[in-house]
């Protein structure tokens, strides 16, 4: 199992480094910008208040103030930039892990060795989780040295809680995409369905914030449960979010494992 995990991570090292580096650069950009933003907090607060209410809601901006780094990052980094990077990373990793191996035929190398299908499934799954954990830790905790560098106050506890929620958010999406990757023999299908479902979820979240009678649609969206405002600003993690992310993770992983174990792999 270790051999496959290690090999998978090594194969994806460039991608893990690239995503982590992008995460650090975005964080650097926002942290670097923050001192000048803070100096003009009052003007920015006024500007934000002038934004259409629908736009503010659509991006989940509940705290109309940039008086702390956390409030600023919740809007700039965690409303779209970080979730988008996380989604791209886990969906691409999931598609490469199984569907691509079947599509390219390299799955025959693994399947013709004394390794069970479940071992293959879980080895690549663990490799994906490890890679995403590296990205999460590096991209989120890069705030610590950067904030120190710019002499900005920050809450390590809230950052850690955001990292945990972000990891669970990515884990749920990874498990869902990985399940699709285990089901299909072409990674384009896994990408298309994963991408389609996630776009739909994002649209549902926006629609639910725009129309009161569509409010309940938000519960069908992962983006609703990834409430960076609440976690990063107030240090609260919603139990429902944790349960939803863990529930999706377990259900998708079990379905994916059973499917992969039973399916025909015509290489």
């Amino acid at each position: 199992m270790f051999t496959i995990i290690w090999r998978t991570i090594l194969d994806r090292k460039v991608s893990v480094i690239a995503y982590s580096l992008a995460g650090i650069l975005f964080m650097w950009m926002f942290v670097g910008l923050y001192p000048s933003i803070k100096e003009n907090t009052a003007e920015f607060d006024e500007l934000l208040k002038a934004y259409p209410q629908e736009l503010i809601k659509a991006f989940g901006i509940e705290e109309l103030s940039f008086d702390t780094l956390e409030r600023f990052l919740a809007v700039e980094q965690y409303s779209i930039t970080w979730p988008l990077m996380a989604v791209f990373m886990v969906v691409s990793f999931a598609g490469m892990a199984l569907a691509r191996e079947i599509e390219k035929g390299t799955a025959e190398i693994l399947l013709s060795r004394p390794v069970s299908r479940l071992t293959i499934f879980f080895s690549k799954y663990i490799a994906g989780i490890k890679a995403f954990a590296i990205f999460t830790i590096v991209s989120i905790f890069s705030v610590v040295p950067l904030a120190e560098m710019y002499n900005i106050d920050y809450s390590l506890e809230n950052q850690a809680k955001t990292a945990l929620l972000g990891f669970l958010f990515g884990l749920a999406i990874f498990s869902f995409s990985y399940m699709l990757s285990a089901m299909f023999s072409e990674r384009s299908k896994a990408y298309m369905i994963s991408g389609g479902v996630l776009i739909l979820m994002y649209v549902l979240k926006i629609m639910s914030s725009l129309e009161d009678n569509l409010e309940n649609l938000k519960y069908a969206s992962f983006f609703h449960y990834f409430d960076a405002n609440k976690t990063l600003i107030y240090g609260e993690i919603d139990t429902t979010s944790v349960l939803v992310f863990l529930g999706v993770t377990v259900v998708c992983t079990v379905i994916g494992a059973i499917w992969f174990n039973k399916r025909d792999i015509a290489i």
């Binding site: 051999t3 496959i4 194969d11 190398i109 693994l110 013709s112 004394p114 015509a266 290489i267």
Partner: protein
């Protein structure tokens, strides 16, 4: 009394273990398409069993079922007295597999492939020896390798753990004659140490050269299982006769003789079994030229496809 018991045990064990691969009533249907439709065969210890058939006959599907890549719709496959599906992890320690077009990780070198396989197999291997024997450079990335060198790497990976059973799916596809010979030598060496070989092919000369027995698959069904010797003994001859005068082809339509081509004074006949009856009819005519050619394995093979 115990002597008989031990004798019986040894006898049963020997008989039981002599069948290395057993396939019973194997069926694999993809929707309405019957890729394999109830084939059965056995491969004995130390045997090289050729699995012949044209593209689409069901060879690769059978091999994929044997390797547990795909699951049969019906039927059983046992290898080394173990179920090919339930005991697949145990079996794959004993099986060396090679497909005609080896699939490799483009970004890896040959060495990385060999090390990976070695770690997964978890036992000592003869990779170094094989690298030397095949004159293979393991330090190049596989995306830069020619098809021949890719196949060499595939051979190393399938032979390196000295498996008891070798399952090959058209192993010499796209190989030059020199490398083909090397593969044949390696297969022969493997059988000398007791390995059993199951290989699919559509190359009749190859099968004729190295196999002991052959199974001929036609549209998902086993058309015949014959030893190479008995296949050749089917004695199919092609007889070309040039007569001095015009002849009536109907005169030659006797049992075992088929008129393949007819011209005014020339006939091309395919004769199955003895040619005695034909010679007696020919003796009634004046013959300017007579040519009798022994059928190739291909002609024999095509017999099963008529």
């Amino acid at each position: 009394m115990w002597v008989f018991f031990v004798y019986d045990f040894i006898l049963c064990y020997t008989v039981f273990m002599s069948t290395i691969i057993g396939v019973q009533n194997l069926k694999k249907h993809f929707g309405k398409v019957k890729a394999i439709d109830g084939i059965s065969f056995e491969v004995e210890k130390g045997e090289i069993f050729g699995f012949l058939g044209p593209n689409g006959a069901g060879k690769t599907t059978t091999i994929r079922c044997m390797m547990d890549f795909i699951r049969p719709s019906e039927g059983n496959i046992s290898i080394l007295d173990k179920d090919a599906h339930k005991d697949d992890v145990w079996l794959k320690k004993k099986i060396g597999y090679l497909s005609g077009q080896v699939k490799l990780y483009d970004k890896w070198t040959g060495r990385m492939h060999i090390d990976f396989v070695s770690k997964l197999n978890g036992k000592t291997d003869i990779a170094k020896e094989l690298i030397k024997k095949l004159d293979f450079d393991p330090n190049r990335k596989t995306k830069h390798l020619s098809s021949g060198n890719r196949q060499k790497l595939g051979l190393i990976m399938s032979f390196m753990c000295e498996p008891d059973v070798l399952i090959f799916d058209e192993p010499t596809n796209a190989l030059d004659p020199l490398l083909q010979n090397t593969v044949y030598d390696m297969i022969a060496d493997a059988t000398k140490r007791g390995a059993t070989v199951f290989m699919s092919s559509h190359n009749l000369a190859e099968v004729q050269r190295i196999c002991d027995r052959v199974g001929i698959i036609k549209e998902g069904k086993m058309a015949a299982i014959e030893s190479i010797v008995s296949l050749k003994e089917k004695r199919i001859n092609t007889v070309r006769v040039l007569f001095a005068n015009k002849v009536d082809p109907k005169e030659f339509e006797i049992e075992g003789v088929e008129v393949n081509k007819k011209f005014d004074q020339e006939l091309v006949l395919q004769v199955k079994g003895g040619i005695d009856k034909l010679v007696k009819i020919l003796a009634k005519h004046t013959i300017r030229d007579l040519e009798v050619t022994e059928a190739t394995l291909e002609d024999i093979f095509l017999e099963y496809y008529e």
